[in-house]
């Protein structure tokens, strides 16, 4: 039996197809104008990679920002639940998940089954989110993929004073003008974001092991920065950015099998 999970985020959409033995195929695409478009596009890719058709999928769970607007899913789950579930599947010893996505940053405490024990979001300020990195990368005309490697070259420690994404941009530009090394700046940037994320996680008292998920985890520099900000060890997962989609797929599997978890979900369904 094959099932699918589809995570439509603000920046990227991801789809994962799994069967009893694990991941069959996955796909990722930049988010389009509407969640429906993004979802369809990325889902078609995934189906393609798996060489199957939508009709072969016995259950599909949607999650992420746009989850309420995807027509082809059988049910929806919150990102929190999906990231928790996915993380524990990818790293069974994980008890705290730090997910840094585009617009937000979450710290999630999970039990061995991947069920969420406690979670917290970042507050009403976008500092400490992936968007922060996007904005700056754009300003410095650097590709997101390169941020990590560049920062790892840094030799000198500098700090950013501005928490505001938009003003940090100015601050960084002025740093460039003062001839600061790009690598040092980007490292400072990573630490700024990582510090916010770490503070968030610590405020719900982290338990080991800690794993980092979300697109930002692809950024090796951020990974190191978060590690040092937490002052503890941090687990790596193979597919951080599609972690949410993996979780969704796992829940789809439950649903298809009709296991209690989903029973509960149906009852718990809220009046929209």
């Amino acid at each position: 039996m094959i099932v699918a999970g589809c995570d439509v985020g603000s920046l990227t959409a991801k789809a994962v197809i799994i069967d009893e033995n694990g991941i069959v195929a996955s796909a990722m695409a930049l988010a389009k104008r509407s969640p429906e478009e993004s979802a369809r596009a990325v889902m078609d890719q995934a189906l393609n990679n798996a060489g199957v058709a939508m009709t072969d999928i016995s259950w599909c769970v949607g999650t992420g920002y746009g989850r309420k607007h995807i027509s082809f899913v059988n049910s929806v789950e919150s990102e929190i639940a999906c990231h928790g579930r996915g993380a524990v599947w990818q790293a069974p010893t994980a008890r705290t998940v730090i997910d840094i996505g585009g617009p937000d940053c979450k710290a999630i405490k999970v039990d061995a089954s991947g069920a969420v024990a406690r979670f917290i979001y970042n507050d009403k300020c976008a500092s400490g989110t992936g968007r922060f990195l996007e904005v700056i990368a754009e300003a410095l005309e650097i590709k997101l993929d390169d941020l990590g490697d560049i920062s790892l070259k840094s030799a000198k420690k500098i700090t950013l004073s501005n928490q505001c994404v938009v003003f940090a941009e100015t601050e960084i530009i002025s740093l460039v003008n003062d001839g600061a090394e790009i690598s040092d700046i980007i490292r400072a940037l990573h630490h700024a974001v990582a510090n916010r994320a770490a503070a968030l996680a610590k405020s719900i008292t982290i338990e080991k092991d800690i794993v980092m998920t979300g697109g930002v985890a692809r950024n090796a520099g951020m990974f190191e920065a978060l590690k040092s900000a937490l002052g503890t060890d941090l687990l790596r997962v193979d597919n951080p950015q599609i972690n949410g989609a993996i979780g969704a797929a796992l829940m789809a599997m439950d649903a298809a099998r009709g296991t209690p978890a989903t029973e509960h979900r149906k009852e718990g369904a809220l009046v929209e």
């Binding site: 509407s34 746009g66 607007h69 617009p103 922060f132 003003f167």
Partner: protein
């Protein structure tokens, strides 16, 4: 004599060449990473358009965010003073000037010579800056220039429920997803912007006539939303592009300096 003003903003850089109080040439370019480069590029273009060289410029004043990093200017003055002068040249009856640039939003009162009497500036957080509008325009997939016209078509403007540029962006995405007409969102964005501005304008206690300079002045939506909030008509700038006000003011100050009006 030829004088010039160069306004290196956080988002755009402008150069203006003037002769006997008349504008000879003007250029607006997107700012580069380094203010020095932006200034050279903007001024370079302005000069080449007029077929002049830097030697022909009697005096040049720099202003804007990068004012201290321009190699070729004789003096640097803040954009606040320059926008005052510039606005007064654009609209002689102007007594209150609202300048919204990329990184902040300022309001000032000026006398009949365009000298700044009192000012206030807001930059607590990037909401209420031109940058905010750029981000939003991008999310809406519309041209910055169309944001204003678009909002005019709105029947039922949304209220934007987040001060934060980045979060508001998320709100806007949600509205888009739930099929709210783009015009209504645009209108919501513009009035959010206007309400933040009206606070600082009322804070200095405006006197007529009120004019708007800076790039955002080109956004008709913001202007009319602000007019509603302030309950007056904002004088439209026609003599030149309001985004040039800072550079023009710089050039005018350059003129004063050149004529030995040392201060």
């Amino acid at each position: 004599m030829m004088v010039a003003g160069c306004d290196v903003g956080s988002l755009t850089s402008k150069a203006v060449i003037m002769k006997d109080g008349k504008m000879v040439e003007s250029v607006i370019i997107k700012s580069k990473a380094r203010p020095g480069d932006s200034a050279d590029a903007a001024m370079g273009q302005a000069l080449s358009k007029t077929g002049l060289s830097m030697q022909d410029i009697g005096f040049c004043v720099g202003t804007g965010y990068g004012r201290d990093r321009i190699s070729f200017v004789q003096e640097a003055v803040t954009e606040i003073a320059c926008h005052g002068k510039g606005a007064q040249w654009l609209v002689p009856s102007a007594r209150t000037v609202i300048d919204i640039g990329g990184q902040d939003c300022k309001a000032m009162r000026i006398d009949e010579q365009g000298n700044m009497i009192k000012f206030t500036a807001n930059d607590k957080c990037a909401s209420g800056t031109g940058r905010f509008l750029e981000v939003m325009a991008k999310v809406l997939h519309v041209e910055l220039g169309d944001l204003g016209a678009l909002s005019a078509l709105s029947k039922n403007a949304i209220t934007l429920a987040s001060a934060c540029t980045v979060w508001a962006q998320a709100d806007v995405i949600q509205y888009l997803n739930s099929g709210v007409p783009v015009a209504d969102i645009a209108a919501g964005i513009n009035s959010a912007m206007a309400s933040r501005m009206s606070i600082i304008v009322n804070n200095i206690g405006f006197e007529r006539d009120v004019v708007m300079t800076g790039g955002v002045a080109k956004n008709a939506g913001v202007v009319s939303a602000l007019e509603k909030l302030l309950g007056l008509r904002i004088k439209r700038v026609t003599r030149a592009d309001p985004q040039l006000a800072g550079a023009i003011g710089a050039a005018l100050i350059a003129m004063e300096k050149a004529q030995g009006g040392k201060s």
